[in-house]
Amino acid sequence: MLLITCPWCGPRAETEFSYGGEADIARPLDPDALSDAEWADYLFYRGNPRGPHREKWNHVHGCRRWFGVERDTVSYRIARSFMLSAGGPGADADAGPESGGDANTEQED
């Protein structure tokens, strides 16, 4: 179970959070100006990197704020959590050294 640092609340267990997918996907300002293919790219296509991944998490059973996490998809090590918008407390909060871990996550029999 991941240990995730909420920029507002500090480190909490993964069960307090919900996952929101890849971060940094900006909604197009003028959707009507986009081709079907361009809109589909925004709508459906996501990176699936092996390694560092910037993603959205919601502290849904806590302060209910959305924030960003940079997590390694191989080691699950969390490099840092960060604010998705400037100005809030704890922007670019360091996840701290305790968030690491190389636990095996395979669930196959």
């Binding site: 240990l3 900006a26 959707p31 709508l43 919601n58 704020r65 918008s85 871990g101 095996n104 196959e108």
Partner: protein, 1014 residues
Amino acid sequence: MAAAQPNRLQHGGRIDRSRPLAFSLDGKAYTGFAGDTLASALIANGVALVGRSFKLRRPRGIVGGGAEEPNAIMQVGEGAKTQPNLPATQIELQQDLVAHTTRGWPSVGFDIGAISDFFGRILGAGFYYKTFMFPRSFWNYYERAIRLSTGFGEAPASPDPDAYEHMNAHCDVLVAGGGPAGLIAALVAARSGARVILADDGNEFGGSLLAGADAIDGAPAMDWVAGVVAELREIPDCVLLPRGAVLGYHDHDFLTLAERCVADPRGPGDATRRDIRPRARERLWRIRAKRVILAQGSFERPLAFCNNDRPGVMLASAVSTYIHRYAVLPGRHAVVFTNNDSAYRTALDLAGAGVKVAAIVDSRAGGGGALAAQARVVGIPVLQGRVISDVTGKNRVRGVSIAEWSGDSWENVTSTVRIDCDLLAVSGGWSPAVHLHAQAGGRLDWDESQLCFRPAHASEKQRQSHDSAGAGNGRQSLNECLTDGLRAGTEAVAKLGLEPAAIKAPAASSAGEAPIEALWRVPAERDADRCPKQFIDLQNDTTVADIRLAVREGYRNVEHVKRYTALGFGTDQGKLGNINGMAVLAAALGKTIAEVGTTTFRPVYTPVSFGTVAGESVGGLYDPVRKTALHESHEAAGAPMEVVGQWHRPWYFPRAGEDLHAAVARECLAVRNSVGAMDASTLGKIDARGPDVVKFLERIYTHNVGRMKLGRCAYGIMLGEDGMVMDDGVMARLGENHFYLTTTTGGAANALNWLELWLQTEWPELEVYLTSLTEQFSTIAVAGPNSRGLLEKLGCDIPLDRDSFPFLTVREAVLAGMPASLFRVSFSGELAFEINIASHFALDMWRKVLDAGREFAIAPYGTESMHVLRAEKGFIIVGQDTDGSVTPVDLGMNWLLSREKDFLGKRSLGRPDCLRKDRRQLVGLLSFDQRTVLPEGTQLIEKTGRTTPVPMCGHVTSSYHSACLDHPIALALVAGGRARKGDTLFAALPGSEPVPVQVVSPVFYDPKGERQNV
């Protein structure tokens, strides 16, 4: 009645001879002592046969002394408390313990040789897979074989009456394993001020020291253990968990641990449990540790020789354990077979206990080190450069054949000597318990000198939070283990930023050892595929020949071979035989063991009961129940509840003698003809306000929110960005920058999260505040032509007539003396008011509504009537008539889609797929026979006929009998449905002829909507 314990030593052991304990196995009474395991008590009583093997039904005896035991698998307890599949080596003996062998078909003692041969022929490697590939005519044989060999124990037939609990804990240092390395690591960490949890799966601390006669600092090693445990017990921030098996090492240093709780905390180590009462049977600890030290020791390996499964063939270390820890003798005439030095200690232990050791058979031409010299001094014959080529005896070892060998495992040998014995103690070397290290993502290195996989550290150590110590880290002598444990503990506290306490490493005697020899498959008189069976995995009857067969059949990868041969599949999860199996596989493939590698280590480390996993989350605590403020009133009225998510909602309000259908028909007619009242409190309610609230809601909802006048209500839908309907509800404009939103019951939490997601991540510049009011306000819907009269009778301080309070508006009012918001909205199509009221007023209001309604013959109604009433009007329920693939256009809601603005999902409605003419669209259906209520989910087809497959053109989403129309009605999604009104389709019903149905408008009742607008 209780027989004497013929194999019990008069002195020694960590048992309490003053506390005899009666127990039974398969109905036969025995006696053991407090401190025994079931296994040691059985050995004390001379019970050698404890089961039959899974596939081959061969007689089996106790092999090990701990978690690695593959044979003595017991069913313990009776009735609801019975537990299957427990190794006798880990069952603490208790008074009146009732155990049964679980694999004795038809009984452990009854031997059917012919059947064994029969199984032997058909149940080779891959039998699970081949079973399903052979000709059908063979099936009779396989079925018989599989039925006979299914499963181990039996699950209890009734609910478990015991309590289990979960415990969350945090610590600085978790030490897994309470042997010499773990103890000293915990000691230095605790003395340095770290918060320590020390766990060991045994009933007392000491690990390997419990099984020997070692000395530390010149005194018995167990004195040192007692001193360390006593000190740790006095340190407030140190938690000692004997009987605590660390099961899993999960992400971010989260570990799970199962603790067996004892009712009688008397044994050594139990006084440490001062903080927790033993009221649960087992406790699952969920531990987040800053540093983890893995000191779980090592497992002794067996050797793969012919008939190595005969009862009386035991691990050498287990023999020492039984002698020293439990004061029992597993045999009287022993032979020891080894490829390394450690088994010489067992030979000395046996001799010291008065057992005749006929020979030590050492495969090494050069023999052993210092211990071998000691053995010779006490007169034990040592046969060097020899191996055991076969074993005689069936239900008990009777003798062994001994042969010289060349050092080549695959070159046949000739037996030259035969020695009688009833015990064969075997050591094939040691494998560090690397399970948790591997679970944590740690790599393993093959150690060619010690012939084992050991934790690899060098490149990873700086990044890892865990460390290994002692035998689990590949250290062999007691001295090395103590030094390594001290190192690991010191490094852990240093990494935590604490000043490590200075501790001098205790000194233990250490004998000079000769190196181990690689001996995996022991040569026999015939070659490996024709000689008597050489077992690798005793529990699954996997042999050397099976692994070689798998290779001949094309298997190359160790994971595939594991699955094909069932190697390591048992309750011991390969703790005993896996490395031997990998070595045999490597030889068959012509590779090194390091190249073949290990199978993946996954949680859990040892079996855990379902009760422990479930903990307190059973029965009423399985899932929270949400109740409305009116719940007690509904229950008192005898309303059955419908579970909607976590909510319990009244389903219908039956009167005496009424069933669901009669009650629903009456409730619906009351609403259509007079008045009914419903508890609609579970609707999601969100207060939205702020200077930018209009701008925000315009982007969320599809209609023109900004055009709503103060006090107006509107039906709104929100779409996902893919254009699919996500939620719906009524919204009201309470102020210039203040809205009140309602959502579906099931979608309330998601809807609020959805709004927050956009507000926080995409449009943080908008100043909008969202507050859930779902619990704070209750909603009572009063519906029917007499609803206005009822409210007037209740006493209302505002005029309720159509012109003063028109349809789709909201008013603040004082109703029946209570402040309330009144919404003129209708989910039934009738004149209706929704009374929104603070929850603490709700029950009083509900009673007053029902009281005042008596003169109108008011009917309280539940979710079922609500569904019928809305379906008669063609109103959808999101999640029932939609499924995440339905657009508002499919539902005929184009009128809700603003052309003047962008909103979430709008662009997707223009995607080619959303413009397809054959998309499924919402329609109504009428059964031609005026009788058939179509089951919801029924598939619709174009025509009847026998050609398959039959193309499906739609499905029924809602279906009820309408009391006021006196015929069935259904809503359906039909391909291109809106253009097909009047067409005939067929409803495909399982087990009967398709029923013809006509496609009609989804609005069955009052199509012009006049009744709600009066």
